[in-house]
Each structure stands twice: as structure tokens, then as C-alpha cells.
Symmetry: C2
Subunit: 124 residues, 2 copies
DNA sequence: AAATTATGATTACAGGTGTAATCTAAACTT
DNA sequence: AAGTTTAGATTACACCTGTAATCATAATTT
């Protein structure tokens, strides 16, 4: 699995919003939430390329970046990894921990029910 | 939140198995799964103490370590953090990602149903 | 054409991390 | 009592990370 740092992920996440995109577009998108210097974001873009998380094409002297994987694919791997590390690979204990500490809303419950429902339908 | 590295967490996890415990007991427990040198584990214990994740009492020249928090408490915080970062704080999309990629077993579904059930009962 | 600007590349630098080795002193052996 | 072992403390060191600044160069402006 490609290992991304927190900051690297946030840059990639800004690209996932809409891609391909140039560095300046990504910087623009991040400018609301983060106080990062433009140089910082460029450094992170470079590291993402080096790690194989992004590819780019040249357009004049600019680069046009594209993620090398989909967000869902990446977050799935991260999730598996997380659940393996903290809950021996079982997902229910994670949800159960939320329930016990009153972190679940009725909306969460409804959404979870739907996921279960869909899963069962799909099993037929 | 106390931030622990991967390796630090694994050492703490070995202590959570049964505590209080001495360094040598922890080293013994980890010896099956990890190829860590004894010195490495001692370094990690020291870092855990420094970060405030462990406390200890002296017993002759040995230390007897105790975690400063419960496992469930720590994993809950990590989970919240994780879900915030990758799923904007919503838990259902994480579970849904597992479902879509066929990572859910019937057992997982049963366990999830029980969590939901218990939650609903508790709401009365 | 010269000056300025903007882009990516390279360099910087402190603090965290994995992975120990060495040091120091107390406890145990002989 | 002297030597040896062992526990924790200190030091080591390369790579990762956050956070840029500087450099080289191509494009744009004047």
C-alpha cells in the first residue's frame, strides 16, 4: 500500500474533488481550510508524485495532475489497515465502541441499517 | 489526544493484555509476533512514558508499567479521528465501503445488527 | 531585448520514528 | 570484595514529515 502522510492525503483529497488539475488550482482549493504556503503544497505534490500517488502531464511549464487511484480505493485500504491494527480486522467492535460512547446518531443508525439491508439484498 | 506511533501502540497493546507488567514481561509477550530487539522495546517504553501513555512504579531496579488509559478509550479516539479524516466524521460510509468491496461476512452483519439492536433498546 | 514573474526542482531544517548500541550503576555471583 | 550481569538512561542514525526558502529557467510583461 502506498503510505501517505496526513498532509499528503489532504492535498490528494483536494485533487480528488475535481481532476485533472494544476498546482495553482489545488492551492486555490486548499486556501480556505489550510494556512499552507504555496511552497508547502508544491513540496507535497512533489512527494505525492514520487510516491506514485499522482501522475502528471506537462502543459507548457505547468503540470496537470491526476490521482493514480480512486478515493474509495484508497480509503478502503486505509480502513482495512486501521481496523486490522486496532480491532483485529473486525468492523463491529469499532461501531460498537461508537455506540457505547454515544457517538451514534439516529441518522447513523438509519444509514447503517441501509448498508446492511443492501448487503442482504445483494446476497439474495 | 496523545499521539502514538505504530510501534509505540503495539508495545502499549502488549501491556494492555495484562497489567501492570515489567519490561521483560512485555518483551516476552511481543517476542512471538515481532522480531524486535529488546533494546528497541525499551526505547519504545521510554517514549511511551515520556508521552504520558504509561506510568510506572519502581520495584528494585525494575519498573512496573501501567497504561494511563484504557484500550477502549484510546481506540475510540483513534477511530473518531480516522473517521473524521477519511469520511468527514460519518461512520456509515466506512461500513458501506467494506460492503461494496465484499469485505463483510455474515458474521460481521450479525454483529452489526446486534450493535444496532442494542443501541435502539438503549434509546427505548 | 531586458526585466519581471511564475513554475517546478533542489535544498533546508527541526522534530518524529524505527531500530538499536553504548553507557552507567545497581544487583547478583563467585 | 571483585567480577559479571542486567535495568534503565543516553546516544545514534537514517528516513519521514511539516513547513517552507532558494535556485534555475521558461514564459510573460514592458
Amino acid at each position: 500500500m502506498i503510505e501517505l502522510s496526513k498532509a499528503e492525503f489532504e492535498v490528494l483529497d483536494a485533487l480528488w474533488l475535481n481532476y485533472p488539475a494544476t498546482a495553482s488550482q489545488i492551492i486555490e482549493r486548499l486556501s480556505d481550510e489550510k494556512q499552507w504556503h504555496e511552497k508547502t503544497i508544491k513540496t507535497l505534490l512533489g512527494r505525492l508524485v514520487k510516491k506514485g500517488a499522482l501522475s502528471f502531464e506537462k502543459d507548457g511549464r505547468q503540470y496537470i495532475y491526476t490521482p493514480c487511484m480512486e478515493r474509495a480505493e484508497y480509503t478502503l485500504k486505509e480502513s482495512q489497515n486501521f481496523i486490522e491494527r486496532f480491532f483485529s480486522g473486525r468492523i463491529a467492535p469499532l461501531v460498537s465502541g461508537f455506540a457505547k460512547s454515544e457517538q451514534l446518531s439516529q441518522q447513523d443508525i438509519n444509514e447503517l441499517k441501509k448498508v446492511i439491508d443492501d448487503w442482504e439484498k445483494q446476497q439474495k
